[in-house]
């Protein structure tokens, strides 16, 4: 079952198409990372899913409800934390938690206490006196204390130091068992460590959305060594991204790597290659090559 599903979802601001015909499915229990460069439409997508913005076209379902009809019943099962959320800064951490408690039938007092303790939040201090990282932690604690079925995090790590980031990720992983998590982030290195699914958004369009394991498996950095400069195959395969060539070295990224067929395909394309290496890529390298190739194509 999919907790989030969009059909041709689009959102425009006057003449700017922030999100275009987005078809996205996020399965229950997954940790879905929505990544992409700045201005890709990640925040707009999330705001549209959360009924903060109304879609210009298409539709989205969240927890089985049309996103435009999300109301108190659904929001009592959703935890939403955003980097640019405006919190009631005059409240102390303690009052903030006790203020929110009556809104949620499933609020877990012991769990809330535990969250405050583990996230090391100063209970008596006002939110306005807290650092940005601490405020995010307070927002996260307030969003986890009722065991939400869906946790949506919009750039929660932006601008945070690595220690706070680690604490947040740890809190998220330890305390969200069973929940579906949707997270948008620039921090690919962190995302890689805990996401089960990933979607890549660029220019408002979803380039792909798949399981992390399959993504890691289908991307390889290919490096070929030659005795003399090789002739490049024409036409150049679309799945081979960002070729760079020096006198005796050719590098590119294969976005459709298959352990059975790719070695043969390379040998056929470059019969003069003296050595071939096919290396797994970190997520960051995959997205850099994707972003470069998209910009080049544009």
């Amino acid at each position: 079952m999919n907790v989030i599903r969009t059909r041709e979802l689009s959102k425009s601001f006057r003449h700017t198409h922030a999100v275009e015909k987005l078809n996205l499915e996020i399965p229950e229990g997954s940790i879905f990372a929505l990544v992409g460069p700045n201005g890709a439409g990640k925040t707009t997508t999330i705001k549209t899913l959360m009924n903060i913005l109304r879609p210009s076209a298409g539709s989205a379902e969240v927890l089985g409800t049309d996103s435009r009809r999300l109301g108190p019943a659904q929001f009592s099962q959703i935890g939403y934390v955003s980097e640019n959320q405006e919190l009631p800064l005059w409240m102390t951490v303690d009052y903030f938690m006790s203020w929110l408690k009556p809104f949620y039938p499933d609020w877990d007092n012991a769990w809330a206490e535990e969250l405050l303790r583990q996230l090391d939040l100063p209970r008596g201090r006002r939110l306005q006196e807290l650092s940005r990282g601490m405020r995010i932690k307070a927002a996260l604690a307030s969003s986890l204390a009722y065991h939400p079925k869906l946790i949506v995090l919009d750039e929660p790590f932006a601008g945070l130091d690595s220690l706070v980031r680690d604490e947040l990720i740890e809190a998220l992983l330890e305390r969200c068992a069973g929940a579906t998590v949707m997270i948008s982030s620039h921090d690919l290195a962190e995302i890689e460590t805990f996401s089960s699914h990933i979607g890549y958004l660029d220019g408002g369009c979803l380039r792909f959305s798949e399981e992390m394991t399959s993504l890691a498996a289908r991307f390889r950095e290919i490096e070929l060594t030659f005795d003399e400069p090789p002739a490049l195959p024409a036409p150049w395969p679309q799945a081979w991204l960002g070729p760079t060539q020096s006198a005796a070295l050719l590098r590119f990224v294969d976005s459709k790597f298959n352990a059975d067929s790719t070695p043969d395909k390379i040998r056929r394309a470059f019969p003069s290659a003296r050595a071939v290496s096919m290396n797994p890529m970190p997520l960051r390298a995959i997205f850099v090559s994707l972003a470069k190739s998209t910009r080049k194509a544009a």
Partner: protein, 482 residues
């Protein structure tokens, strides 16, 4: 309801200092207004000035601030508010804000009303309709539009900026559009209909904005509604011409008397017209005498307004609209100012005259004689009256009453040195048990002529508002020029 209460308590906690200030200001207002005096002594004048300052400036500003701050606890415009993805019920949120205003603005004002009315010599529960209506009216005209304005802004600074922009725009628009048609002034008879229209526009817009914003947060649509409402208020004079306003007033008052015998007759044989202000040099004053017949005994017919339409020989109409509201003398004179060149052209030629006359039939007269002197007099139906001689040959008679003055009061001052008494009258045909305004005391001042020894107050009730048409085919203007 639990959520409403929860949000209300949070707002009360957050704005506790502001609430203390508002309560202190309301208490100060109640004390000052409670000690308000019509007398012209220096101390009374100072006290009245302070009461006026608190009532007109400080209290409305403080209400505005507190109301806005309550709404800004959960701002509505924008998409960054943390609450939009929390399980708030919009009805609870709106209910909490209304409850907040009712508790910290309306209720203290209600207590202040009771204190002021009691302090001014009346019993607050003698007019329960007045007390309730006063709260309803103040809420409709002040508080709900204040909440609506806060619903479409994000901060008090933005609200003030928007307010200033609106004021400047209204001034420019008024200058461009000119006066609002033949609108009846709010203080004239029938003017209350325009007041009602203005209130209904403001109230409808405020309710629509609140529901729209709290339910769907369609800020731009709400802002458009707000601007449209202001434009409608500005143009209400054009939207509701005087004749429609009077027609509406007639419909709202069910006639309690047979008015069919009442006729209006053009009476060329009447004596000379009363001396009026001289006509401008390029115009001629034409006074048309009208008499009323068939007025039932025990009642009086008052001409509220009259429109004359002259059809000139070239077929062009010349329209004049006049408002009267005077005690009916034998003859009512419709004064027209006709351009001198035009008058010279048509003065000897018979022209067609059509008159539309709006009348109010008054009945159930009650008269009370009051000697003018020191002390206070309780005049039934008029209120508590106090005589204040504030200079040689000059004196004022001030009467105050809770919530509203009677529909019609005629004050007739008898003078030992003159045979003809001096008469002044006040008219307010509005059907409401309270007038619009912050103070629960309605005050009327009468200028007592020199030498006056007694005043006879006559109060009457409106029994019917009627309209009469009068068509006169041949009138020679030269006969009525003066």
């Amino acid at each position: 309801m639990r959520q409403t209460w929860h949000i209300f308590l949070k707002d009360a906690r957050r704005l506790r200092y502001e609430i203390i200030v508002i309560l202190a200001l309301t208490a100060a207002y109640a004390w000052l207004q409670g000690h308000w005096s019509p007398l012209s002594s220096l101390q009374a004048r100072r006290l009245n000035q302070m009461a006026g300052m608190v009532r007109v400036f400080l209290l409305p500003l403080a209400w505005w601030y507190l109301t806005s701050q309550a709404v800004y606890g959960e701002p509505l415009p924008g998409d960054r508010q943390f609450r939009v993805t929390r399980p708030y019920r919009w009805t609870s949120l709106l209910g909490a804000k209304l409850l907040f205003v009712a508790t910290f603005v309306n209720f203290p004002l209600l207590l202040a009303d009771c204190f002021i009315v009691t302090r001014q010599g009346f019993h607050p529960w003698a007019s329960p309709g007045g007390i309730i209506w006063h709260q309803v009216a103040v809420s409709a005209v002040f508080f709900l539009p204040m909440i609506a304005a806060a619903c479409i802004t994000t901060s008090f600074a933005q609200l003030i900026l928007a307010g200033l922009t609106i004021i400047v725009s209204l001034i420019v628009l008024t200058a461009l559009l000119g006066p609002g048609g033949d609108a009846v002034g709010i203080n004239l008879e029938g003017g209350w209909v325009h007041g009602l229209l203005t209130c209904l526009i403001l109230l409808s817009a405020a309710v629509a904005i609140m529901i729209l914003q709290y339910r769907t947060r369609r800020t731009w649509v709400s802002r458009m509604i707000f601007v449209a409402a202001l434009l409608l208020v500005l143009c209400s004079g054009r939207l509701l011409p005087w004749d429609t306003a009077y027609a509406l007033q007639s419909r709202l008052l069910k006639p309690r008397i047979d008015t069919s015998p009442i006729t209006a007759v053009f009476s060329p044989g009447s004596g000379p017209p009363p001396t009026g202000s001289p006509a401008p040099q390029n115009a001629v004053r034409v006074s048309l005498p009208i008499r009323l017949y068939g007025v039932p005994s025990g009642t009086t017919a008052v001409v509220d307004a009259m429109r004359a339409e002259l059809t000139l020989p070239d077929g062009n109409p010349l329209k004049t609209l006049l408002f009267f509201g005077e005690t009916p003398p034998d003859t009512v004179w419709h004064d027209m100012l006709v351009e001198r060149s035009l008058f010279e052209q048509v003065k000897g030629t018979p022209v067609r005259l059509h008159l539309t006359i709006r009348l109010t039939v008054l009945g159930n007269p009650q008269t009370e004689d009051v000697p003018l002197g020191g002390g206070q007099y309780h005049v039934p139906g008029v209120g508590l009256c106090e005589f204040d001689p504030w200079g040689p040959g000059r004196a004022a008679l001030s009467c105050r009453t809770p919530f509203r003055q009677p529909a019609y009061v005629l004050a007739r001052f008898d003078r030992f040195d003159k045979e003809v008494p001096s008469e002044q009258q006040r008219v307010d045909y509005s059907p409401y048990p309270a007038e619009f305004g912050i103070s629960p005391i309605s005050d009327t001042s009468w200028l007592a002529p020199a030498g006056a020894t007694t005043v006879a107050f006559t109060t009457m009730q409106p029994l019917a508002h009627i309209r009469r048409e009068l068509d006169i085919p041949n009138v020679q203007l030269a006969e009525f020029a003066n």
